[in-house]
């Protein structure tokens, strides 16, 4: 089985982000200088893919990643330590303001170009949304472009059953999971968090991965994704600061009474 994970980089969530207007639309100030990491939901998808591959001998995990080549190299130095995969790098913007449809087109094209890929024995993984664009749109369009109409979003669990069918749990409203069975691959799965912790760094895995990652980065295809037809009227930081009243040295009884009145009010 082939498991293709689509995932790219996002700015470190602890960094302060500031929007600027660039020549092609909104961008982040000092974007290339910001420390980046693998998008968290794509990360969950990658770890789930690796876990699935380990349980199904002969499986292979690919990571298709669209981002600035230099930044991809930096992020892959860390990601490569986690799980075995083959990188398919695409050199282009990983910014949140780019159009999901263009990103999806580049990714689908890269997947289609994998030599000898049997789509009928392939699962397409990704995050259910990114921590940059945050749209939850790319994976579905990738699926449509590949002709895959068995798609699942907000996936927390995938189990390959004895008959080869896929039992999938997706998040739905109200803290519930919808359980579906798909008879066989191909399928698109946009992962939520899944159930696996982040794997520990494994230098041996890292060494093996890097042998393929560097050549992949060198031959990364330019993929100039843009903001498409979007006309941004404004991009701004939210003003969320509140004037916090600090209550100190008050007995728990009094605080509790105040809170209960507030809750019931």
């Amino acid at each position: 089985m082939n498991i293709i994970v689509c995932g790219s980089l996002v700015p470190d969530p602890l960094q302060t982000l500031e929007p600027i207007t660039g020549p092609t639309g909104p961008a982040l100030k000092n974007e290339m200088m910001l420390p980046s990491w693998l998008d968290p939901w794509a990360g969950h998808a990658l770890y789930e893919a690796s876990n699935l591959a380990a349980k199904n001998p002969g499986s292979k995990v690919y990571l298709v990643s669209l981002g600035p080549k230099a930044k991809l190299q930096q992020v892959m130095m860390t990601v490569a330590q986690k799980v075995p995969f083959e990188l398919i790098a695409l050199d282009g913007s990983a910014g949140g303001f780019t159009d999901a449809a263009e990103t999806a087109a580049a990714i689908a094209e890269a997947i289609s170009a994998i030599p000898g890929l049997d789509l009928n024995n392939t699962l397409i993984f990704g995050g259910w949304e990114s921590a940059s664009r945050g749209a939850g749109a790319t994976m579905q369009i990738v699926g449509e472009r590949l002709g895959i109409t068995d798609q699942f979003e907000g996936v927390d669990s995938l189990e390959i059953q004895a008959d080869g069918s896929l039992k999938i749990m997706e998040r739905v409203e109200g803290g519930k999971h919808q359980i579906s069975v798909c008879t066989a691959p191909p399928a698109v799965l946009g992962w939520a968090t899944g159930n696996l912790p982040e794997p520990r760094n494994n230098p041996q895995v890292g060494m093996a991965n890097m042998r393929g990652i560097m050549p992949s980065l060198q031959k990364a295809k330019p993929s100039p994704v843009t903001t498409g037809d979007i006309a941004f009227a404004s991009v701004s930081l939210p003003s969320q600061t509140r004037t916090t009243q600090v209550v100190k040295d008050v007995p728990p009884d009094q605080i509790a009474a105040e809170l209960v009145a507030w809750i019931r009010g």
């Binding site: 996002v10 982000l17 968290p40 939901w41 949140g96 999806a104 921590a131 940059s132 664009r133 945050g134 939850g136 749109a137 579905q140 369009i141 449509e144 109409t149 068995d150 699942f152 927390d156 749990m169 998040r171 739905v172 409203e173 109200g174 803290g175 519930k176 999971h177 919808q178 579906s180 798909c182 066989a184 939520a192 159930n195 912790p197 498409g228 037809d229 941004f232 009227a233 404004s234 991009v235 701004s236 930081l237 939210p238 969320q240 509140r242 916090t244 009243q245 600090v246 209550v247 100190k248 040295d249 008050v250 728990p252 605080i255 509790a256 009474a257 809170l259 209960v260 507030w262 809750i263």
Partner: protein
């Protein structure tokens, strides 16, 4: 012409979010039609018969009672092609979020999800949504039509109006072949469900509940009792910080009722409730986006400078959450 795409709930009704989407689209002032997908759609269409829609179109059948990509995408595509709208709005339910981008691709349109504002500006629709996990807000429009938008809750008050007879028109559709079957749902028992989207209050628990307390002891069992008692008595919804959820995910017996579903913040959800109470939460500012859409906020923390509290909460009680919540539960139980 605009099109509002809705789906029925399991009981054949329309959700509050559907009615909010209806109201938000009506507010644009353009003529509109309504398309409804579901196992039984007649009563849902009749319930909004007086909303002013030019036309009601339905796709009905047992295959459309289940939320499944192949059938839902085909239904949405058929309804959009039947109307030929400029703008398509849907409630941002898991069901529409799953299919809308794919449908946009099929019909040559564009899509935006998680829309938190929709207005007319210079005669054109203009949407608002967040980027970088609620760290930036953008106002934008698109030139491509149709433009498909999934609207989040809270944009408009739910539509209210008289029911009537919608005289809905059935749109014919050959049910597409799907290899997927929905076999059920999994949820905690009703009395153990800690995620309650309709609750007034979001109760956020942080990792401080599992740390050594002032007497040097870890009191996880006591924390569990206090939190669950509070949820039971207050009927609030439970959110958690990433650090606390991760502890559970790593196999540490922390608070067993917590899962990633409870996680709020950068990699969790951003629920919408009228009030929020955070307890024992610590963390950097970006993680506090978990309660960006909470109205009134209060916090209990021993750290007066905690990032969850200063500048984020309306009132911060610098106090021991164990002591306070014990008293709160006593008062709520009376």
């Amino acid at each position: 012409m605009n099109l509002i795409l809705l789906h029925t709930e399991a009981d054949g009704t329309l959700s509050k979010l559907s009615l909010e989407t209806l109201a938000a689209t009506i507010a644009l002032g353009a003529p509109f039609s309504v398309g409804i997908v579901g196992e039984n759609t007649a009563s849902a269409a009749d319930s909004i018969a007086t909303c002013g829609a030019g036309k009601f179109l339905t796709i009905t059948g047992p295959e459309f009672g289940q939320a499944r990509y192949a059938t839902d995408a085909a239904a949405a595509e058929a309804l959009i092609r039947a109307v030929g709208p400029d703008l398509v709005t849907t409630p941002a339910t898991s069901r529409w979020n799953r299919v809308l981008p794919g449908v946009a691709h099929r019909i040559g349109g564009k899509v935006d999800s998680h829309v938190t504002g929709l207005v007319m500006a210079d005669g054109k629709p203009q949407a608002t949504r967040w980027f970088y996990r609620q760290r930036m807000e953008a106002v934008f429009s698109r030139s491509t039509r149709p433009w498909l938008l999934a609207l989040e809750g809270g944009i408009a008050a739910a539509w209210t109006g008289a029911a009537g007879t919608a005289n809905a028109e059935a749109v014919s559709l050959t049910v597409p072949v799907s290899r997927t079957s929905v076999i059920g749902f999994e949820a905690p028992a009703a009395d153990q469900q800690t995620i309650r989207p309709d609750a007034d209050l979001l109760f956020v628990t942080g990792a401080g509940w599992t740390k050594k307390q002032s007497d040097g002891l870890v009191k996880t069992a006591e924390a569990e009792t206090l939190i669950l008692d509070f949820l039971r008595l207050s009927r609030s919804s439970l959110g958690s910080t990433k650090s606390l959820v991760d502890l559970g995910g790593e196999g540490v017996a922390v608070l067993p009722f917590l899962s990633h579903m409870n996680q709020v913040g950068q990699t969790g959800s951003t629920p919408r409730h009228a009030k929020g109470l955070s307890t024992c939460c610590h963390g950097e500012e970006p993680h506090t986006v978990g309660w960006r859409f909470i109205g009134e906020r209060r916090a209990i923390s021993l750290d007066a400078n905690c990032g969850w509290s200063r500048g984020k909460a309306d009132i911060l009680y610098v106090a021991d959450a164990f002591a306070v919540m014990e008293k709160v539960n006593v008062l709520l139980g009376r």
